[in-house]
């Protein structure tokens, strides 16, 4: 019961925070006609039966595309609190259905948005985790500090050696020649556990191969304008200076679709409505998504997501 009240308080505090800043709350469909191409996100799909129509719909993995359609239509800064669904993700920190807070700030660059994320977290956690300190560093800095490797250039021999020195010899067989998989492996196994404790840690300047939907940095094409937020080493939020170049976006879709095809993953189509919106013009903006269940874990000092859900997946 204490937990139910804490969750309700969290939602109320978020709404107050954004009302104060004149950011508009919006709703977009959970059941969508298209989904993202990211090969690392598996989706739930369902059939709409309405003879003679019979169309596949997808439970959203995030509200990103729909919210960008609103931004392109002139909504101004917006936020949404909703459910997102990721197939196959279940574990201590993962529930296949989880609550996301996602917001977009028109006219904000990445730095401004990062500052707002910190403001929000400090406000929301003031009552139970006021001891948290705030750290900020580049991906390259923290990665090199801990692994002694350069995340921006891939030399498999060096990566293999560093992994072996940390007792992770199996990395070589798992990651092969895939630089991005190596980065995921080393970051999650070595960097995250070494992050400062009792701290909000912002990591910015992700390698360009992990740009996702972020812009490539104007000054350094090796990095993307993307940041992530960690608390006590747990991934909590992911933000971008949003890519608004439709040609570049379509190229990234095609690259991911080709990857899906070559790796035997379920095929997906490009989200045409989203591309139309980009074509019409997405305003300069930054956006971020935050896992609210994990934020509750932080607030309540729990180490498993099941502990903050009224009905975890196995009892859903």
């Amino acid at each position: 019961m204490r937990l139910l009240r804490r969750r309700a308080q969290l939602l109320a505090d978020i709404r107050l925070f954004f009302a104060d800043r004149a950011v508009l709350e919006v709703e977009t469909p959970l059941l969508c006609g298209a989904t993202g191409t990211d090969p690392n996100l598996d989706f739930f799909s369902s059939q709409f039966h309405h003879p003679p129509q019979d169309k596949t719909y997808f439970l959203q993995t995030s509200p990103e595309f729909a919210m960008k359609r609103l931004l392109a239509a002139g909504s101004g800064s917006i936020y949404q609190i909703c459910k997102a669904f990721r197939n196959g993700e279940s574990g201590r920190l993962h529930n296949p259905e989880f609550t996301i807070l996602e917001w977009y700030r028109v006219g904000f660059d990445l730095e401004q948005l990062m500052a707002e994320v910190v403001d929000l977290l400090v406000t929301l956690l003031a009552s139970d985790r006021s001891e948290l300190s705030v750290h900020s560093c580049s991906y390259r800095q923290i990665f090199t500090e801990i692994t002694d490797l350069d995340p921006l250039s891939f030399d498999r021999r060096h990566y293999r050696q560093a992994a072996a020195e940390h007792g992770l010899a199996e990395a070589n067989a798992l990651c092969g020649n895939d630089h991005a998989v190596w980065l995921d492996f080393l970051f999650s196994h070595l960097v995250q556990p070494s992050m400062p404790k009792q701290a909000i840690c912002l990591v910015f300047g992700y390698p360009a191969i992990q740009s996702s939907l972020a812009r490539i940095n104007a000054g350094d094409p090796r990095v993307a304008d993307r940041f992530e937020v960690f608390i006590d080493g747990m991934e909590l939020a992911n933000g971008f200076f949003e890519l608004n170049d439709v040609v570049e976006q379509e190229t990234r879709f095609e690259r991911e679709m080709a990857y899906r095809h070559s790796h035997g993953l379920a095929p997906v189509a490009k989200d045409a409505l989203f591309l139309d919106a980009l074509k019409a013009g997405l305003p300069v903006c930054s956006g971020v998504a935050m896992g609210l269940d994990r934020l509750l874990m932080v607030a309540q000092g729990h180490d498993a997501i099941d502990r903050v859900l009224a009905f975890p997946f196995d009892r859903a």
């Binding site: 990211d38 690392n40 990395a171 798992l174 995921d184 492996f185 999650s188 992990q210 992911n238 998504a289």
Partner: protein, 189 residues
């Protein structure tokens, strides 16, 4: 033998790893929001008892290990092997010193144990949680001294040495917790 996906990894599942039978202790799903999913697994090597951590790509499969636990009665040792029997079928198994390991000092003929079998041959022996053994050697104690403090070493009929209270005498039978190696109580004949 069946194969198991990382999604099926649960505490207690027996798998083959580096050609050794292993038991899974813990399985942690590790996945960056926008990245590759892994399973970080804590595993006990059932041959050496060593615990290691190993990462798999989520969805990878490994071969299961044919490992089963069976209740058996300890019969006798011939010096080289220790012989056990399944009571209802009279099947007999012989375990070598390696498999008997630490259980050696608690084994008394007729006692029931758990034998862990890999491909039907003994891998390890788990003694009962509590055993009752006679004391063969200990310093003469003070009768009536029931104070908790102090204690003294006592050698048991199987060769194990445990600390017992001062009032316990040679020839008495005591109950011992084999998991901690600690004296529990005297046993009234």
């Amino acid at each position: 033998m069946a194969t198991f996906s990382t999604n099926e990894f649960r505490g207690g599942l027996k798998i083959m790893l580096d050609n050794d039978p292993c038991s899974i202790i813990e399985n942690e799903f590790v996945k960056p929001g926008k990245g590759q999913a892994f399973n970080r697994v804590k595993i006990r090597n059932l041959k050496t008892g060593r615990v290691i951590e190993r990462t798999f790509k989520s969805g990878d499969t490994v071969e299961g290990a044919d490992v089963v636990d069976r209740d058996m009665q300890y019969l006798y040792s011939d010096g080289e092997f220790w012989h056990f029997m399944v009571p209802d079928t009279f099947e007999q198994y012989q375990a070598d010193k390696n498999a008997v390991g630490e259980a050696l000092k608690w084994l008394k003929e007729q006692d029931m144990c758990i034998l862990t079998l890999w491909n039907d041959s003994p891998l390890s022996v788990t003694p009962p949680n509590f055993v009752e053994l006679a004391i063969t050697e200990t310093d003469p104690g003070l009768k009536g001294d029931t104070s908790g403090g102090g204690g003294k070493p006592a050698t048991l009929e199987t060769g194990a040495v445990v600390r017992v209270p001062l009032f316990v005498q040679i020839g008495e039978v005591i109950k011992v917790d084999t998991r901690t190696g600690e004296y529990v109580s005297r046993v009234k004949e």
